[in-house]
């Protein structure tokens, strides 16, 4: 250690105490606040999911009543979508790493950044308050489809207000990142010198900023209809339920890319590091993120092929949906080509990235089936769709999130987890995941609708396999969490760059100092994946 390193405390040492965290303006600490909050809600969501799988082990009642089951799947959806996956990668790793990757000392608006975490906390409290106030948590599904959401006596108003507040948190994060990327790049760093994770966040942020207000106003319309009786969506008082579906999906489909794009960004960071070579097709990957974000605005109608749609609307939405597949497949081929002639160091972050590609391929390819009009008529609202989006959200984004956690763990805390246990946890998780969700495709093709508390006897076998898979998955998850927590209490690692990372964030100390770099970082020639490490000198 040199003297200057001792004299500069890292961001974790600067101040101590609870208030130094919950009122911090440091983007790295805010990233960690998000990590602990989304991590906690993820585990709650998992517990609810396991409960649902237990109930579905056998036909008929196993452990909970129909009404409870309906509330459980609604809460599972609300927590996983609004409290875990939408904030997950951008709010945790985006906050922590975007300024470092841009070679700057913080996001553009640190106070707004803190406020967006606080809004997240308030929104989360609203969502949880539905458990104790009124007639229990909403039983509508996370989609809050009208007119049922207008008629039911459960706590729909509080749930949608929670989503409304969480929406603001998301908008502010998006706004902050856009301004940061435009204004705070290190001197000399052009857009095409940014790492691909920054590009992915840039595309995501535009969706957060432009699409989220639509869900905000739509959810307020639900509240207005419930409390004031204004006929907006309920036909018995003059509203239109299809209007609700359009408004809902105009946000909620682009929101799928809020969830998926940052995950693709993570994979685009992990693969070059562990292949020890520059990314293949930098521009293609960067611009395909923007293309997905753009086309993603115009495909919402594919959620409504059986809602009563005119022929031209149906084929336009269908063909646009297929266009999303093109930039997505370009990314997959580029990742594959990045492994070609690399010098591959197989470590757990790379396993998660490879696991991501496999799961995400299944998620994406089954999405093509849903995008085809005829096939979708049969599969819409069946377990096929449940399998499809869990492969994208959990097998894709979830795995990328875990990959990022293992990848940047030594950077964030200057510690290391047990690598053998981490590999084992990954293997269990991967097997459990596929055993849990793959049978859902078969159930869907057989015709089992989703949101079913009870099912016909012919669906029994695959539901059983799926439930057994959930137990394996949870074992892997708990082992992973245990290993990560245990690693936190281990001895600090001495090297700042244990993976021989080739990107800018590995050029500073681990953990980074408060202002990220001790002196202004020097940019290298040859792109963002060309920084020196112990191997390439």
């Amino acid at each position: 250690m040199t003297e200057s390193e001792i004299s500069q405390p890292n961001y974790l040492q600067v101040k101590k105490g609870l208030f130094s965290w919950i009122f911090t303006l440091d983007h790295k600490r805010i990233g960690l606040l998000y990590l602990y909050s989304v991590g906690a809600f993820f585990l709650v969501g998992v517990a609810l999911g396991v409960l649902m799988r237990l109930e579905l082990l056998n036909p008929g009642r196993d452990i909970i009543e129909a009404q409870t089951y309906n509330q459980v799947f609604t809460l599972h959806g609300v927590i996983m979508i609004f409290l875990f996956i939408i904030p997950s990668i951008p709010a945790v790793f985006g906050n922590f790493f975007l300024p470092i990757m841009l070679g700057t000392d913080d996001v553009a608006f640190p106070k707004l950044n803190l406020m967006s975490w606080w809004l997240y906390v308030v929104g989360a409290l609203f969502a949880l308050s539905t458990l104790v106030f009124g007639d229990g948590p909403a039983d509508t599904g996370w989609t809050f489809y009208a007119p049922y959401s207008v008629k039911t006596g459960t706590n729909v108003s509080l749930s949608v207000l929670a989503a409304f507040i969480l929406g603001f948190s998301s908008i502010l994060t998006g706004l902050n990142f856009i301004v940061t990327i435009h204004r705070l790049r290190a001197p000399g760093m052009g857009f095409n010198d940014m790492p691909l994770f920054s590009w992915a966040l840039y595309a995501t942020s535009w969706i957060q900023l432009l699409a989220t207000p639509i869900i905000g106003i739509t959810l307020l319309m639900i509240v207005a209809e419930r409390i004031l009786g204004i006929g907006l969506f309920d036909p018995s008082i003059g509203g239109d339920p299809i209007l609700y579906q359009h408004l809902f999906w105009i946000y909620s489909h682009p929101a799928v890319y809020i969830m998926a794009l940052p995950a693709m960004g993570i994979v685009s960071e992990i693969i070059p590091t562990f292949a020890q070579r520059t990314i293949f097709g930098y521009k293609a990957i960067a611009y395909s993120s923007m293309a997905i974000a753009f086309v993603g605005y115009f495909v919402w109608g594919h959620h409504m092929f059986t809602s009563g749609m005119s022929g031209p609307a149906a084929y336009i939405f269908s063909i646009l949906t297929f266009f999303v597949a093109i930039p997505t497949s370009i990314k997959v081929f580029n990742w594959l080509a990045t492994l070609y002639k690399g010098s591959i160091n197989i470590q757990v972050p790379l396993l998660f990235a490879v696991g991501f590609i496999f799961n995400f391929l299944i998620g994406g390819l089954t999405g093509l089936v849903n995008g085809a009009l005829a096939a979708d008529v049969h599969l819409h609202d069946t377990y096929f769709v449940v399998g499809h989006f869990h492969y994208v959200m959990f097998g894709g984004t979830g795995f990328a999130f875990f990959g990022a956690l293992h990848y940047w763990y030594p950077k964030m805390w200057g510690k290391m987890y047990n690598r053998t246990v981490a590999n084992l946890a990954f293997a269990i998780l991967f097997i459990g995941f596929n055993m849990l969700y793959f049978p859902m495709f078969i159930l869907g093709i057989m015709g089992m609708p989703r949101r079913y508390y009870d099912y016909l006897p012919e669906f029994h076998t695959f539901n059983q396999i799926s439930t057994y898979g959930s137990w394996i998955l949870v074992t892997g998850l708990l082992l992973m969490v245990y290993n990560l927590i245990k690693g936190y209490f281990s001895k600090p690692v001495s090297e700042p760059n244990p993976w021989n990372g080739i990107t800018l964030e590995w050029q500073t100390k681990s953990p980074p100092p408060l202002h990220n770099f001790d002196k202004a970082p020097e940019l290298v020639k040859g792109g963002p994946y060309n920084y020196p490490n112990a191997i390439n000198g």
């Binding site: 299809i242 370009i330 160091n345 609202d381």
Partner: protein
């Protein structure tokens, strides 16, 4: 022979895309695993930087574009015929309400399950009395949302004798997964016979027939057990706490109360039950119907 005229188009688009998908999934996975071993550090200590390759990138943009256009085309081809029913189709009303399907034939016959003649196009006029439902016949590969306030239809031709499940595929509340029925495809002379037959309800109390027909029994039991609404057993003369205009009130269930609740369920709600779920039957049930129902409820002691 397929169960319906749409099976072929739907299954072709489904299995075509699944086939292409399996090919790419297996291919990409195999290549990925091969690279992981072939180019691991031990086998390849020094990486070669290849920033990009224009030819390769054009190839893997053009091929997926062609493939997805093919997929789109067969999806559209299988879907297009679903949009227009043939002129000679037999029209049947399909009525969805929380948690029961019923079917009304042109001559007025109603039935809880659908019976159709083989090889005859059937056009279902879809009517919802309350919230969203979706009429789904997996064996026929057809599904259409049933939306209150909209005149939607779906059509199909049953091509194989047999009985197939009808499911509700759009979440509609507590007993969504129990909103089941069947469609039976029968020979046309059997259908004609069935159409003129009347189910033997002579031994049944007319009040019970009305309760069955109007989906009352989906929520109210006859044996005292609690479902979505209070049970009919021992109902008359019972004292209940109801919530009316936000205030609790103790009432005794009498004829007047039942009539009010059938016509305007929102007027009050029994403590412990959810408000807002029941359809108002004002204008659907006549005074005589309601009398019959009350008479039947009185008999449930």
């Amino acid at each position: 022979m397929n169960a319906s005229n749409f099976v072929e188009g739907v299954d072709f688009s489904l299995y075509l895309i699944l086939g292409i998908s399996v090919f790419f999934l297996v291919g990409i996975t195999v290549v990925m695993i091969y690279f992981l071993f072939r180019y691991r550090k031990k086998n390849n200590p020094v990486a070669t930087n290849i920033p990009h390759n224009t030819y390769l990138e054009i190839i893997w943009t053009v091929i997926p574009t062609i493939l997805v256009l093919i997929m789109f085309w067969y999806g559209w081809m299988g879907y297009k015929p679903m949009l227009t029913a043939p002129d000679d189709a037999m029209e049947i009303e399909a009525i969805g309400q929380m948690w029961k399907w019923s079917f009304k034939y042109p001559d007025g016959k109603t039935s809880d399950s659908l019976v159709i003649p083989i090889n005859k196009p059937i056009k279902l006029k879809l009517i919802s009395k309350d919230v969203l439902h979706a009429l789904y016949i997996p064996a026929f590969r057809v599904k259409q949302d049933v939306v209150p306030g909209k005149d939607y239809m779906m059509w199909f031709t049953g091509q194989k004798l047999g009985t197939y499940d009808i499911l509700c595929a759009e979440y509609c509340g507590q007993l969504h997964s129990y909103m089941l029925s069947t469609v039976s495809v029968v020979e046309s002379n059997d259908f004609d016979k069935w159409l003129v037959s009347t189910p033997d309800t002579s031994s049944e109390h007319p009040g019970l027939t009305l309760l069955k027909k109007n989906a009352c029994l989906s929520c109210h039991t006859r044996d005292g057990s609690k479902l979505v609404g209070p049970s009919f057993k021992n109902l008359l003369g019972k004292t209940e706490i109801v919530i009316k205009d936000g205030k609790e009130e103790e009432i005794t269930v009498d004829r007047e109360y039942i009539i009010t609740k059938i016509k305007n369920p929102k007027s009050s709600v029994v403590d412990g039950y959810q408000a807002g779920l029941m359809t108002p039957y004002d204008g659907i049930l006549s005074d005589e119907d309601i009398n019959n129902i009350i008479e039947y409820i009185e008999s449930l002691k």
